[in-house]
Symmetry: C2
Subunit: 212 residues, 2 copies
Amino acid sequence: MNMLEDLKVNYGYLFEDELMEEIQQIGQYMGVPEGTMIIDIGDTITSMPLILNGAIKVLREDDKGDDLLLYFIENGDTCAMTITCCMGDTKSGIRAIAETDTELIMVPVQKMQEWFHKYKSWQTFVLQSYHTRMNELLEAVDAIAFLKMDERLLKYLRDKAIANRDELINTTHQEIAYDLHTSRVVVSRILKKLERDNQIQLHRNRIKILNL
Amino acid sequence: MNMLEDLKVNYGYLFEDELMEEIQQIGQYMGVPEGTMIIDIGDTITSMPLILNGAIKVLREDDKGDDLLLYFIENGDTCAMTITCCMGDTKSGIRAIAETDTELIMVPVQKMQEWFHKYKSWQTFVLQSYHTRMNELLEAVDAIAFLKMDERLLKYLRDKAIANRDELINTTHQEIAYDLHTSRVVVSRILKKLERDNQIQLHRNRIKILNL
DNA sequence: CGTTCAGTGTGACCATTGTTACACAGAAAC
DNA sequence: GTTTCTGTGTAACAATGGTCACACTGAACG
């Protein structure tokens, strides 16, 4: 079975056999196509996703409803925001959208908390996830606060290429603009400059990252 | 004893008596004057601070060594970054500076982890802290990404007034500029505009916040 | 094949923020 | 007092990014 394979590959070295067993039994498998909104802002979280493969992008929203990309998460990861929400029983502060076709295992909140006491490895995993996510949030702050638009855009393209495991990015300038919370014109302008600087190659609906 | 009083007031309703007992015995009291650097970027964290009273500001640094304020933390809080660092045994990604004269109890890492298993209330507290801090980081992102400089500055002044429990802020334009990662001239310019709009009153080394 | 439409390129202009330079004011030191 | 120093106000200008307008291009579809 594919799910079992993916589960082993991504989490086998972390979790005890017994825990792996429980995850298989209780966790609910989900395959979501690219673009699916997995969690929305304001959602009450009832289960926590373990990513088997694919990638998810995490966004924050401004008061006008426009988005800003915080970071990508990949297989072997979980959404730490989910954990805080589950524990605190509050609502999601972020939006999660499948960046590629993605396979997940959803673990219900109750189990999540039960395992937290039962399995040391689960506890470590959850706390480790917090750590990673916190650092990724800090990196996001760095990008937004310290980088200029052209640097930010290049970083974005590279991060996206890594998340997709493909140096060819299929997207439009408009979509990039949404993620970076800027305008399409600005994105086109900078992309053209990056192309002149031999950082990328531009095509319709497609960008190739050089020197990745 | 003062420390005991503060401990009870801030944490008594959270922790079991037994845990309170342990904190008193093992935790090390520290009084730090305003401006003291409590944690620096790159520090290896060996203990975790519980704030008894006062306030601490948490900063991130860019590659040129310039700072950016992330948020203030107050009594009853702890630094969640510390926790991640302790657990993961990695280095601090942030700098923490006493915003006012501050009293803390430092709990060594080992105890922190021991209590995590021993006391449910401690576990809840730590996870809750993560949650709060995560949200505060998100708020910081909002401010940096979505607000214009004048709005950000006003928010900064208000947050600072709250952290200091005083509508009178003792600081210079230069210091504000450091925290907001901008220049003194920009700060002076905007402050003057805020004064014209009756949001604040300006004096040398002193700003009074109106309609707080 | 021509029409339509989404996606891209670009000039012109504006708004915000950053920079430089310098004047001035109040506090502190002499 | 006057000198010195730190802090503040402001004009002038530069740089960055956002907005508007419009041309062009390739893909899709009839």
